[in-house]
């Protein structure tokens, strides 16, 4: 399984971000090929490849594309999601910098497959530099006739616009992203209706992650069968794993799905500085459930294996914590993040995330009371599943897993106060019934 060592998304080719270099290395030939296929055939190819979304939810990409109506009297839209704000995630940025045309080509193929004439790429505002790099690549692609009117002499035309966000994690959630693009506050929408029926300006819309779309050209040029055999068969392909925290060589490593977590940590990222023990790992961005250091042996970076380990693959952003880490401080920081980023629409999330942070701060300060552990879990359980979007879940999951895995760490922070004196009723309330 691990013999596959080719890098599909970030190959080691100098100046690949330049359109001439990209073309010389076969770039835009997948678009040429796709334009000679029927749109349904392109969708089918992606469907059969079993490509799953890299934005966090692992949704089958080709299947998502089939939700789009073939005929529509309204315009259809593609939104490429480059909001990339989940803590521990820093991979789409690599694509903008080192291989932007692969993403652009993938987005154009997706647009052709779904009959879409307008593509918006939403990129987080902090990425000013990468927005410039992407815009330059888009301009080059326009200049060369890959974007615009009658692309490569076909009947297919599409526009491509880069839209800059302004600092809001929630705008990575697909319906909040659409609201943000429309010029609204980034509030997630109630679903249904789903974006494929009622998306941007009420029109059919598909939202895909940047890395997801960057896989598409390879599937078209080399075929679904080839792709479906890379890595784990249920979720094939390579993933840009970002590894950060206590490792010697943090960074982005492109590896097939199903790679051992311990291999990524030790072989690729050089292990833990000072050869310290690993106390905990967050495998897929800050919203995924934690894994205890003792339990990472044998865990593979694919949906099934991580599920068995009690977590999920999320964005593939791995955070490693060594034995000296104050884990309670870390989970408190995570709770602070979700509290800060909650858009405030749903009471369980708006209030609950604040409670999670407040209670965890009490633990951090050693001020927690006996009842706080149960209260913490109770609040988390009452957020999960009770909100419009998954930000609430994203806030609850790490806390729930933390209580399950590191109860001891929390219990140690409970303030040892003597039991309150037993209630002695004042004499005038004491009635003698005997």
């Amino acid at each position: 399984m691990e013999e596959f060592s080719e890098k599909l998304i970030l190959p080691d080719i100098t100046d690949l971000h330049r359109i001439e270099v990209y073309e010389k290395n076969g770039g835009y030939s997948a678009l040429r090929k796709a334009l000679r296929m029927k749109p349904e055939e392109v969708v089918d190819e992606v469907k059969k490849s079993n490509l799953r979304g890299r934005g966090g939810a692992c949704f089958p990409t080709g299947f998502k594309w089939t939700f789009m109506p073939k005929e529509s009297d309204k315009p259809k839209y593609l939104c490429a999601n480059g909001d990339e704000s989940e803590p521990g995630t820093f991979k789409d940025r690599q694509i903008f910098e080192f291989n932007p045309h692969l993403f652009i080509e993938g987005a154009l193929i997706a647009a052709y497959a779904m009959g879409i004439a307008v593509v918006y790429t939403y990129v987080r505002g902090e990425y000013a530099k990468w927005i410039d790099l992407l815009q330059r690549a888009v301009d080059d692609a326009y200049r060369k006739g890959y974007i615009g009117d009658k692309i490569l002499g076909s009947a297919f035309s599409t526009e491509f616009t880069v839209h800059k966000g302004a600092g809001a994690y929630i705008c990575g959630e697909e319906s909040a992203l659409m609201n943000s693009l429309e010029g609204e506050r980034g509030y997630p929408r109630v679903k249904p209706p789903f974006p494929a029926q009622n998306g941007l300006w009420g029109c059919p819309t598909t939202i895909n992650n940047i890395e997801t779309l960057a896989n598409v050209p390879h599937i078209i040029s080399r075929g679904w069968e080839w792709f479906s055999k890379i890595g784990d068969s249920k979720q094939p392909g390579t993933i840009l794993f970002g590894i950060s925290g206590h490792v010697k060589k943090p960074g982005v490593y492109e590896l097939p799905t199903g790679t051992l977590l311990t291999d990524i940590i030790h072989k690729h990222a050089g292990g833990v500085p000072g050869n310290k023990k690993i106390k905990a790992v967050i495998p897929g961005g800050s919203s995924t459930k934690w894994i205890r250091g003792e339990n990472i042996e044998g865990v593979r970076m694919d949906a099934d294996s991580l599920k068995a380990a009690g977590s999920s693959i999320g964005t593939g952003g791995i955070i490693v914590m060594d034995e000296d880490t104050d884990l309670v401080a870390v989970i408190t920081r995570i709770a602070h993040f979700y509290h800060h980023e909650s858009c405030g629409q749903c009471t369980p999330c708006r209030e609950g995330c604040g409670w999670l942070e407040k209670i965890l701060k009490r633990f951090s300060a050693g001020e927690a009371t006996e009842g706080d552990l149960d209260l913490l879990l109770d609040v988390a359980n009452n957020i999960e599943g009770n909100t419009i979007c998954a930000l609430g879940d994203a806030a609850a999951w790490p806390v729930q897993s933390f209580v399950g895995l590191f109860r001891d760490e929390l219990e140690r922070r409970v303030k040892k106060t003597p039991a309150p004196p037993a209630y002695v009723p004042p004499p005038h309330l004491v009635t003698s019934r005997s």
């Binding site: 803590p87 506050r185 970002g242 800050s286």
Partner: protein
Amino acid sequence: MKDPMFSDAHLQKLDALRKRYPKSKPLVLPALWMAQEQFGWISPEVMKYVAGLLDLPVSHVYGVVTFYTMFNTKPVGKYHVQVCTNVSCMLRGGDRLLAETCSRLKIRPGETTGDERITVTGVECLGSCGTAPAVQINDDYHENLSPEKLETLLNELR
């Protein structure tokens, strides 16, 4: 303050963007970015101006400005030093970076130095977790920082 007015370059850019969206409302973020670039921060007068340009209620523009963290609703220093304090940076000293930088400059997070040169803010994950701790100064990222390296950097920025 004089009534705010976009430069010709910004007005042209905004006009070019109008073709890219079916309505004018989606131009609110691009227009606010231009405003922040030109005026440094988004004052109530600027909100009114942007609302007028896009034919939107001022209240809508206000709602948008205050929803997003990157729009400055008060003036910031010439250099806006945004220190990431989220998990991956924290594990590599991001919180210490923020605390030490603030104490060296004798300000608290969110404040500006007396000479109006530097504002320091603690921010959420910048997407630089692999090169933590990370700091964004105006548009530019600076990575793998220590308090000492950041101090040198700030001294060089004149």
